[in-house]
């Protein structure tokens, strides 16, 4: 048992244990990855007969020339830029505050985390109602500050903002938890040492907490970016099966969905998936490069 080398027999045994997982993942994860890449190069694909007219870059050319896709990429980037930094900063601040309190801290954690466990579709319905231009809570609330009623869901200038606000609200809890874990993992000894060295509370925050929290901050940001690149459910539910007024909330995944599910342009949809993959790959590579260089562990 100790120092055992794999043998044919032990490998066959392991294979039996791996088999159920392998069958499913090969069929529904590995093969689709290959298939997606292949399909993105198909010309004139016929789904019913599985006939392929040839291979080429036509689908990518199509995306290159499709103003809708440009819009989708643009909206996705705006969405990411709108959601991620705000979420990171807000969740860090709330985590720091929650970390300071003792009474009711469990209760507050529960409350902040609640949106994470709720169905995106169901809660998007609620936000749809909150954003109602005449009877919604949002405009009523803004009315106290003298803001005129806004057509959150029907005005293309505001609908992306509406989506962003809701997404921040939904994503906060998850990130707060991660930050709290990160704060918990900081050795109290550092604070004591810093205090002995004469650092005041603010200095301790900037010189101990922030640097030691940087891996988590980084992780939260990257997770946030990747997750936001894939936004779909919220849009579909908030705008009731449309990509927002005047396609103002058309994102890459929504574009993929449309090409695939309503227009049956499978190869184009696959190509947009490949673009999404490369965007995410880019973020991951930046993450690897950056964490190797800058994150303080």
């Amino acid at each position: 048992m100790i120092n055992e080398k794999p043998t044919i027999k032990s490998s066959l045994k392991a294979l039996l244990y791996l088999l159920p997982m392998l069958v499913i993942t090969v069929m529904f994860n590995i093969w689709p990855i290959i298939s997606s890449f292949l399909m993105s190069f198909y010309k004139d694909y016929n789904f019913y007969t599985d006939e392929v007219g040839g291979l080429g870059f036509d689908n990518f050319l199509y995306l290159w020339n499709d103003p809708d896709f440009h819009l989708a990429v643009r909206n996705t980037l705006i969405f990411v830029a709108g959601v991620v930094p705000t979420t990171v900063i807000l969740s860090l601040v709330i985590a720091l505050l929650l970390n300071q309190i003792k009474v009711f801290s469990g209760f507050f954690r529960t409350v902040y985390f609640l949106p994470f466990v709720t169905s995106t579709v169901a809660i998007a319905m609620v936000w749809n109602w909150i954003y109602h231009s005449d009877y919604g809570l949002m405009n009523y609330f803004l009315g106290f500050f003298g803001v005129h009623p806004i057509n959150w869901l029907t005005n293309p200038h505001y609908s992306l903002l509406a989506l962003i606000i809701m997404s921040i609200w939904k994503g906060l809890g998850f990130n707060i938890i991660l930050f709290l874990v990160g704060l918990n993992n900081i050795d109290k000894g550092y604070y004591n040492a810093a205090e002995i060295d004469g650092a005041n509370a603010l200095q301790r925050f900037w010189n101990v907490t922030i640097p030691l929290l940087s891996p988590i901050t980084f992780l939260v940001s990257v997770n946030g970016i990747i997750g936001s690149f894939k936004v779909f459910d919220q849009i579909f539910a908030l705008f009731q099966g449309t990509p927002g007024p005047g396609k103002a909330d058309l994102t890459i995944v929504y574009y993929l969905y449309q090409k695939f599910y309503t227009e049956y342009k499978y190869p184009v949809a696959a190509a947009s998936g490949v673009v999404l993959f490369f965007l995410i790959l880019l973020v991951t590579l930046v993450q690897m490069w950056y964490s190797r260089k800058h994150v303080h562990y």
Partner: protein
């Protein structure tokens, strides 16, 4: 004095934030118990004159929510149990067994975790239509019967148990299979609970995939059914909010009971990156 003041300020901010987080839920509950005219009162009222519990019954019966509910329960439970089973077996192999190509296979799977799931939708749809599974439970369940993420998390947990216990069990006469189910799984209970709960939540709330692979009303899961319901209910927000409530409630209850595990699961899963 300054310390006390800052404490008060601290609680004030945290409470204000908590209220902001809660408002959508409260608004949902409040609206779900209003009469139709009450929903469009300006300024809005929070507590209806009389609580309209009937809205729940009406919403429940206006669309086949019972059927959606059953579908969701079936899909969630079968997916979760199945995925747990395949993952436990695979995680055990990766954690304890010796086999050729172990590292290679592991790295390949780790790599696939980087692929956005949305990319897989098209080929999977094609595969399932060829197998004639579209619009059946199979389409909702089978692709999710394995998750490398779960395998990865469980492998970590299994590896963190002392290897000596494995040897001890083998010497006590336990086979690998027996060891796995009578020793390793009970020892890793908390991680297993955590991944289970996360999987239940994910499965229950899944939307895009069920939306794509179901056509008939009777196959819809709750989120898809709820989405469809908006077209029928139109502007009857009290009914919409009632329906949203019973989609959300099961997970909220689950969360209340298993909060500890969910948070542990997130910390484990999230911090791995």
């Amino acid at each position: 004095m300054a310390k006390k003041l800052s404490k008060i300020l601290l609680y004030a901010i945290v409470t204000l934030g908590a209220i902001t987080m809660l408002i959508p839920f409260l608004w949902m509950l409040s609206t779900s118990l209003k009469t139709a005219p009450e929903t469009i009162k300006v300024p809005p009222i929070w507590i209806p004159k009389s609580l309209q519990w009937g809205n729940y019954i009406k919403a429940w019966s206006e669309a086949p929510f019972a059927r959606y509910f059953v579908n969701s329960v079936v899909v969630t439970s079968v997916t979760t149990v199945g995925q747990l089973f395949t993952s436990i077996l695979a995680a055990f192999a990766f954690a304890r067994l010796k086999f050729f190509g172990k590292n290679l296979i592991f790295v390949i799977f780790l790599g696939t975790m980087m692929i956005p799931g949305e990319m897989l939708i098209i080929p999977n749809f094609v595969t399932l239509s060829k197998l004639g599974m579209i619009d059946h439970y199979a389409a909702l369940i089978v692709p999710w019967l394995a998750s490398f993420f779960t395998v990865f998390t469980l492998r970590q947990a299994f590896q963190s148990t002392p290897e000596q216990i494995y040897y001890a069990a083998k010497m006590d006469g336990a086979t690998d299979w027996k060891y796995l189910w009578t020793v390793l799984v009970p020892m890793s209970k908390s991680t297993i609970t955590a991944v289970t709960v996360l999987q239940v939540i994910g499965s229950w709330n899944a939307f895009m995939w069920p939306l794509i692979v179901t056509n008939t009303e009777t196959m819809r899961t709750l989120p898809v059914g709820l989405q469809a319901f908006t077209t029928d209910a139109g502007t009857e927000y009290q009914l919409l909010m009632a329906a949203s409530t019973f989609v959300i409630i099961p997970m909220v209850i689950l969360y209340m009971f298993l909060q500890k595990y969910i948070i542990a699961g997130i910390s484990k899963a999230g911090l791995k990156g």
